[in-house]
């Protein structure tokens, strides 16, 4: 993954799409990939039955077994390597990048924990490489609780789910947005563990510019998490409650800064 190149900004690049029927996801995938094609990205559709996508010479298709082989042996790092390879290959062949639509439903049923780790890694890769990804999840096969565990790892989605988003930013920061409270507490803890963040220079920098609420327990848990990584939590937010909380709790290892 040496060939790091800033992706174009504008269109959402790591999108979670919950769908009710294969037709619905295929229509969404086609629109997503068409947008990629307009930016001279290669278009790739990955699904259990990719041939179901109506024949389109501009869109390559692949089976899930090539990118997200399902089963308990699923390896997130290896899967990311496959997407990296495909992105590199597209660029070597003259495309500006790779746009991929992938149906993750079966993997979510078989190996949710590893898939969640993969989704974080994919988001991290997307933030710094010319890859855009649409991840599909079939509502009729996945309950809301399982879906929430992956929805929160995308920068965009067609469902609100858990009320917060956690993903990598383009400056090696963590992006945390939405609202964090008792309802999201368990999922946030689970997601932080799966993300396995790596602080830079003793600081866990969180871009919380789109954060609109967090309660005191969440701030304490985030501080504890940063402390467990031997780092200081740097929360960049313009939500006035964060600075107020940090001041009143007088908790060590937390610095609240204005969002840029």
């Amino acid at each position: 993954m040496q060939r790091e190149r800033a992706p174009e900004t504008g269109a959402p690049r790591h999108v979670c799409w919950q769908y009710d029927s294969p037709d619905e996801f295929q229509a969404k995938a086609r629109a997503f990939l068409a947008e990629g094609l307009s930016r001279t990205y290669r278009a790739l559709y990955v699904a259990d039955n990719p041939e179901q996508l109506q024949a389109d010479s501009m869109i390559q298709v692949a089976g899930c077994e090539d990118f997200l082989p399902s089963g308990p042996q699923f390896d997130p790092e290896k899967a990311l390597g496959a997407f990296n390879l495909a992105t590199e290959k597209a660029m070597a062949e003259g495309f500006a990048g790779l746009s991929v639509a992938v149906d993750c439903t079966t993997l979510a049923l078989d190996a949710l924990e590893s898939l969640a780790r993969f989704e974080y890694l994919l988001g991290e890769y997307v933030a710094t490489h010319p890859l855009s990804a649409l991840c599909g999840y079939n509502r009729s096969r996945l309950d809301g609780e399982r879906t929430a565990q992956v929805v929160c790892l995308h920068s965009d989605s067609n469902v609100d789910g858990p009320g917060f988003r956690l993903h990598a930013g383009d400056c090696r920061t963590l992006v945390l947005s939405g609202q964090l409270d008792l309802f999201s507490a368990d999922l946030l803890a689970l997601t932080l563990r799966r993300a396995a963040l790596e602080p830079q220079n003793g600081e866990l920098v969180v871009d919380a510019s789109a954060l609109t609420f967090l309660d005191h327990n969440t701030l304490l848990r985030l501080a504890e998490y940063a402390q467990s990584l031997r780092s200081v939590l740097v929360l960049r937010t313009s939500w006035p409650g964060a600075a107020q909380l940090a001041r009143l709790l007088d908790v060590s290892g937390v610095r609240v800064e204005p969002a840029p």
Partner: protein, 310 residues
Amino acid sequence: MTAGFVHPAVFYRSDEEYLAMLRPFVTEGLAAAHAVAVAVPGRRLDLVRDSLGDLAHDVEWIDMAEAGRNPGTIIPTVLRRFADAYLGRYVRIVGEPVWPGRGADEYPACVQHEALINSAFAGRDITIVCPYDVTALEPRQIADARQTHPLVWEAGERHQSPQYAPQTAVRRFNLPLPRDSRVAQFVVKVQRDLRAARTFVAEQAARCGVGSRTADLQLIATELLSNCLRYASGDSRVRMWCTDEYVVCEVEGGGNLADPLAGRRPANDGHGRGLLLVNQLADLVRIYSSGHGTAVAALLRADRQTDGET
């Protein structure tokens, strides 16, 4: 100095009597190498400070009108903050939480605070003397002080208070806060409702003209509702209304607050911080427990900005 907790009410009728009783309390404490703090409202702070000359440098001065505007914060953020900084050393504090001009809404919280000091500091080597202005306060308020203090100091004498009954005082002032007829209400049933409850709070803050305190109000409502969701059964309700002086955010749930010192212990005590945080964010907190549940009302002064704002 007697070991253990000493908690006299000091009844004064003039500035001269005020100084005659309190100045020696401070100077004798300093002479005995005690840690001494004076936490009284503004003008009285100057009065004592000016009487001490250079000795004033050895005393911690706290404007109770500001630090103690919410009586619920006095134990954790004024008295224990000072006392806990001098563990192992005898501590003397002058603390005046009741003064003429305290509003009718504030007074029940003041009496409960005075009563709860006794259990909060039981067994500790501390003397907290509480001055009461007997010429300006009402006779019933002086009677309340006799119920919340085991000792009384008056000009020329010190004696025990036969009326001392702090738990009775806590119960007598367990009073519901009167609600405005234009109260708005939102019902919370499950954790997922917290987000909608905050939207409701933001809308009501805007309606009351205190949009700048939306974050404080959302924090207050969320912390109180979270306690209900964790510890109480049944639905809980967040209500908001505004008066000429305050915007009120009240949360009522089915649980009973078994610990009378909840929210009155410093954060590092290992207890839940939610109610303490509410106490710190609000200008006044009133707690009413009935047989059906508990209502916690946080009152924020409509003209007061969030700390740090200009």
